[in-house]
Amino acid sequence: MNILESIRISIRALAANKLRSGLTMLGIIIGVAAVVALMSIGAGATRNITSQVQGLGSNLIAITSARSVRASGVGAQTTPLYYSDYQQIANDTTNVSGIAPTYQTTAQVMYGNNQSSFAVTGATPDFLGVNAYTVAEGRFITSYDNQSGARVVVLGSQAATDLFSGLNPLDRQITINGINFTVVGVLASKGTTSFFNQDEVILVPLETGYVRLFGGRAVVNGQRTLSSISLSAANANDVNGVIDQVEYILRRDHNLTLTDSLPFSVASQSQALSTLSSISTTLTAFLGAIAGISLFVGGIGIMNIMLVSVRERTREIGLRKAVGARRSAILTQFIVETVTMSLLGGILGILLGAAIAGIISLTGLITPFISISVILYAFFFAALVGLFFGIYPAYQAASLRPIEALRYE
């Protein structure tokens, strides 16, 4: 009695009751499809985040204000990031190839009758290089623009399309919160979407922003504040050194001791990348686990049906034993039956899961990534479920005594 014979007998037994086998398999199909689809979506999201963060710029370090509790226990408060912090950092750090202070606000932007709400960012010339943008048309903000408070604006590619819908925006006038600005440049598309669209930026000279757009909220304690400061380290090896320098300068200038927690976040791109990807990996595993539960439930369904099947086929088992079947032959037959069912379900489930992932990628929201490891994981997990839930019914069948099995009505 070899394994091929067992498989043949099993397939025949399954085919004898197609509807029942099909419904039982459905549990596995849905479970495996869910595992494959959800894990592919998770993997796709992880890749998306990774490429997006990498697209932010190389060796990037971002400084932002963070809510924190002082060690003295006075209470939570937000410490603003001052323009003077930028000046100190720019003066006192080494191995920095660019430093870009920004202040961001939301404003009504209008071209002709076309009006919508945009995030408007005040920036300096370094913004372009630090954030890895390139200019597609026209020019970027210059030092002169900043010094003179020029009313010029540079648009991200998506923002240009949104406002001008195909017209060439160069040298045209738009209004931001009712103030006229001239479009002097359009940035090249970065191509990455979702979460926040890097092509939807609207950039004005920082100085112009303070004077014309940002208003009183940008000034705290009589000092200009910033939303963030981006630095680009000269080399990848310098990133941690620059972070240390920046933290030292911030502590020094804000009169903080080493025991006080720093009320700013100083994060490198690689830190952000590892944080984000660990979040999304956890999320993917979590989704996989939830889908795994449905696979487990499918396994219980298989076991239930196999127990019924053993009961129903008691006489058949008795007869097989009467003509010389060993215990192991009966055991093998029933285990092969459940494993065949779950593997078949697994294969169909993988196809269904891949189809679901394909449909989701058609919506354009997210591009699922179907990896070989996900497929193998789903396949072997399905086989394992079949084996695990098949053993008990098969053991029951194999343990039947031939004379009692033959008399069973």
Partner: protein, 242 residues
């Protein structure tokens, strides 16, 4: 060849013990054709199950070709059932949705006989029972008599030492039943096959050389048949009951 020495079989039905066989001793030689008779509950089927190694005695010794059966483990018993015993049931017990040839091949499958030779042996067994033309019919496409012939072919396919039949004619009409008995006689006469069958029917029993009667698990008579009937002999009107 078959030796039973003070064999007792006790079943437990819930709290009560049922003595199905009570201290039976008997011997059956190779090449004999024997009928076992007795009323319902007399232990006929239990005796057949023990002879066929489907069950083992509670007490006493059963030797098949000198080998005490109760000393064998489960796998060895399976091997004895596969090679030494051919069993025919009242309900035929063929696998549904499986054709005659595959039903007959089943014991060979479990005995590890491979492809070509398995097919040849099964085909030969079906020819022997007169079903050469019916190899690819399924049980539900066969008459009762034909189904029982398939079952006999299945019992014979591994060339067993003994052919056991538990009321083989019980589910068949009289004429078909006698044809099946005729087949047993043919196997016995032409091949020297040892045949033991259980029957209710005294007329059917008289087609053998020896009739063993059981009552309440005990042998009450064990007599040779003076003039064994040849299958096809007209049944006397007054002898229908056992």
């Amino acid at each position: 060849m078959i030796e039973l020495e003070q064999v007792t079989k006790i079943y437990r039905l819930g709290q009560t013990k049922v003595v199905a066989l009570d201290n039976i001793s008997l011997e059956i030689q190779a090449g004999e054709m024997v009928a076992i008779m007795g009323p319902s509950g007399s232990g006929k089927s239990t005796l057949m199950a023990i002879l066929g190694c489907l069950d083992i005695p509670s007490k006493g010794v059963y030797r098949l070709e000198g080998q005490p059966v109760e000393k064998l483990n489960e796998n060895q018993l399976a091997q004895v059932r596969s090679r030494k015993v051919g069993f025919v049931f009242q309900q035929f017990n063929l696998l549904p949705r499986t054709n005659a040839l595959e039903n007959v091949m089943l014991p060979l499958l479990y005995d590890g006989v491979r492809g070509r030779s398995r097919y040849e042996k099964a085909k030969a067994a079906l020819e022997l029972v007169g079903l050469a033309e019916r190899t690819h019919h399924r049980p539900n496409q066969l008459s009762g008599g034909e189904q029982q012939r398939v079952a006999i072919a299945r019992a014979l396919v591994n060339e067993p030492t003994i052919l056991l039949a538990d009321e083989p004619t019980g589910n068949l009409d009289t004429k078909t039943g006698e044809e099946i008995i005729g087949l047993f006689q043919k196997l016995h006469n032409e091949q020297g096959q040892t045949v033991i069958y259980v029957t209710h029917d005294a007329f059917i029993a008289r087609h053998t050389q020896r009739v063993i009667r059981l009552v309440d698990g005990k042998v009450i008579s064990d007599d040779p048949v003076a003039h064994p009937l040849v299958a096809g002999t007209p049944r006397p009107e007054d002898n229908l009951d056992g």
